[in-house]
Symmetry: C2
Subunit: 420 residues, 2 copies
């Protein structure tokens, strides 16, 4: 491994990995600020801020930001999640310094011009409209809301239209001052990068940034329940969630192995039982997502309205069965999928930089591949069965339904089926 | 370049590229058979066949196919386009021979068990339902239909429900015998691969395959017109197409440079004018797609119902303006974006294998990077302006509208605005 890390005096962290043979690099800044760092009246501001980063800085107009990166053939983008906001660029080897210059400029120096705020409001309202028009997008917002009701973690990242319609410059500045401090940021870069060069540049750019304490996030409290939106759609969209380990809990590997074996690929139980044997759906999957203090095991599928009850019931039966008879072979296969997926992911500079940033945020260091592989290998059939059992023995469940879903059983009924 | 090619006696082609340092590989078979190779009564069969490849072969059941690849941590997938069907796997270095064995098995030996056909029918009907529930997916099927009406090229890949509901084993076998012959296939592999080893294996697997003539496709005839589906959605989805060069036409590079400068990134005209200045949309793009005998310049965006007329009009005004004043700087930037995008794409084994297969299909050889770069560099501001001019001087246009789109101008009115 050629991972190198460095910490500036103010707590700003730098992590790089040179990948021999590559002619491009991915460079980004990950900020420990996302949807769950918002107070209720701020809901949507982390994402609004991410948009405003591109709308002009002390040094560059909106078009100059885009042109600076695209003139050299690179691209620049950003995303906001519930715990992080990331700003990153992919460029050829010679343009790494430029990429860091532009990415840091938009993170540190946005000016929040009121006229630009008005324009960007329209863009974000359109983004919200687009999400609402996409059933297998919006259903996950509803699932999150039912999983963590009346909590920052349960709110949508885009925010409600009413709030987005009213944010002004002071709202953006407040969120920045509360969350964008030196010790909340990680610069991650992978590919054709030079560690010392990037450290030197970061010293210059971020060296004077102030370190501040960030308010701790409100502990996520998984509650469960259901939301059902009957609508005249082609498909009945079905999403289910159980609480699962947070990312610091060693059981996260058990949860990931389980989700892979249960609904992670074509050989998984859900794919085989629901799609291959019964032809009920096109898309079906299970995945284990994790936050700093909680996590969710999510299952999604879509089917016709007359089969949504069958789909929901089979999903429950399979969950129950997994607790009894998940086999050694299935667990071994899931381990192989996770390990190979890890190796393949490392061959892309973008996913490698992303992984470095996440590891630094979570662990404040980069665990070696051997460490991770040992954790994956440590997951046994018994722990996987026990994990499945923990969900099928009366744990709270959250369910979101959208489309012709009138015939779907209530979530209580599905849970009763599990423990029956 | 370490590209190596080989042709079996029956016309089956092999193209590989070893990428030093990689620990994984992408291996796939690209078949020159897609939606446009279907007669009207076959519409949807190419895609149905792709699905049935995974439902059991002479040697493996459906679950054995999935397990063979996932046991070693790899993944296997397929897609059908209008001109190609691709089956591919990504695996670690040691499993390349296994990947080829499985991928070739599903392409050459599917059994089309009638019971499995019934099950898979349900899956595909669900896939159709999912597409219909996704406005910014289904709108492109409609745009294609308006662009190439009553022609194989204009039909949807998934096919209409009525036909998908009735396909049987002989329909699948007929399509295979008409299109899946040795001279219509390319094996492409990139990453940790050994050319000689793969050639030897291909000799064994494909050596006895028969070469047959495939019926020529019906020449695509771009007509244009409009389709407007008024529906109560959040967004008014707007898609527009003009005819543009086929992939053998050297002007394809002009079309691609134009689409990049016009709507290919954040610095592009459409992004700047429609999103950055006016805040009318979240998504907006232009892209140049190409077939063997025609191509389409596609523009897409989504906005609110009260602004769809403004969006459509501005798009037209920008197209007209581009013909007059597209600048040297914009064209130079688009060239840089295309060249860097090419280099970055080459860093992924999957996209590299995909590119090798496409090049073999189109050119029957792999053009060098220098050749491609020379073509890109050969595009001048004048040719780009002329290309924009060709669209804004009365060429047929196709438009698809979906959502609250009652207020959008008719396509004839938009075209009149162009030539005004």
């Amino acid at each position: 491994m050629t991972v190198q890390t460095h910490r500036l005096k103010n707590g700003f962290r730098i992590v790089t990995e040179n990948m021999p043979g590559l002619k491009s690099a991915s460079v980004g800044i990950w900020v420990n600020a996302g949807g769950r760092h918002e107070r209720i009246e701020q809901n949507g501001i982390a994402h609004f801020l991410e948009h405003m980063a591109f709308k002009g800085t002390l040094r560059r107009s909106s078009v100059q930001i885009a042109e600076a990166i695209e003139d050299v053939g690179g691209y620049i983008n950003a995303y906001t999640s519930r715990e992080m906001t990331a700003y990153y660029a992919r460029v050829l080897a010679d343009d790494v310094a430029l990429a860091l210059d532009v990415v840091s400029d938009i993170v540190l120096n946005p000016i929040f011009d009121p006229a630009e705020i008005e324009v960007e409001r329209g863009v974000i309202l359109s983004e919200i409209g687009q999400a609402l028009d996409t059933p297998d997008d919006i259903i996950f917002d509803w699932l999150q809301e039912v999983s963590y009701p009346n909590q920052p973690l349960g709110r949508s990242i885009l925010g409600p239209e009413e709030r987005v319609s009213n944010f002004q410059k002071p709202d953006l500045s407040t969120f920045v001052s509360e969350n964008y401090s030196a010790n909340q940021m990680v610069l991650a870069a992978a590919g054709a990068v030079d560690h010392d060069e990037l450290v030197r540049q970061c010293e210059e750019i971020f060296g004077d940034l102030i370190a501040r304490n960030q308010s701790p996030v409100l502990q996520g409290n998984f509650c469960g329940g259901e939301i059902r939106q009957v609508k005249d759609l082609e498909q009945a969209h079905f999403a289910l969630a159980f609480e699962s380990p947070n990312y610091k809990n060693p059981d996260i590997y058990t949860a990931q192995i389980f989700s892979t074996a249960f609904g992670g690929g074509m050989s998984s139980r859900l794919f085989q039982e629901v799609r291959e044997k019964r032809g009920l759906c096109y898309s079906i999957f299970a995945s284990a997502g994790a936050y700093c203090d909680t996590g969710t095991m999510t299952i999604y599928s879509g089917t016709s309205g007359d089969k949504v009850a069958e789909l929901a019931n089979i999903t429950m039966d399979e969950l129950k069965r997994a607790a009894d008879d998940m086999s050694e072979a299935e667990v071994a296969r899931a381990r192989a999928q996770m390990k190979a997926g890890l190796l393949m992911g490392l061959e892309s500079p973008s996913s490698r930089a992303e992984r470095l940033a996440r590891m630094m945020t979570i662990w404040d260091r980069i665990p070696s591949l051997d460490e991770i592989v040992a954790q994956i290998d440590g997951v046994t059939t018994e722990t996987v069965r026990n994990f499945a059992g923990s969900m099928s023995s009366g744990a709270p469940a959250a369910m979101a339904l959208y489309g012709p879903v009138a015939d779907a059983p209530a979530v209580e009924k599905l849970q009763a089926r599990l423990v029956a």
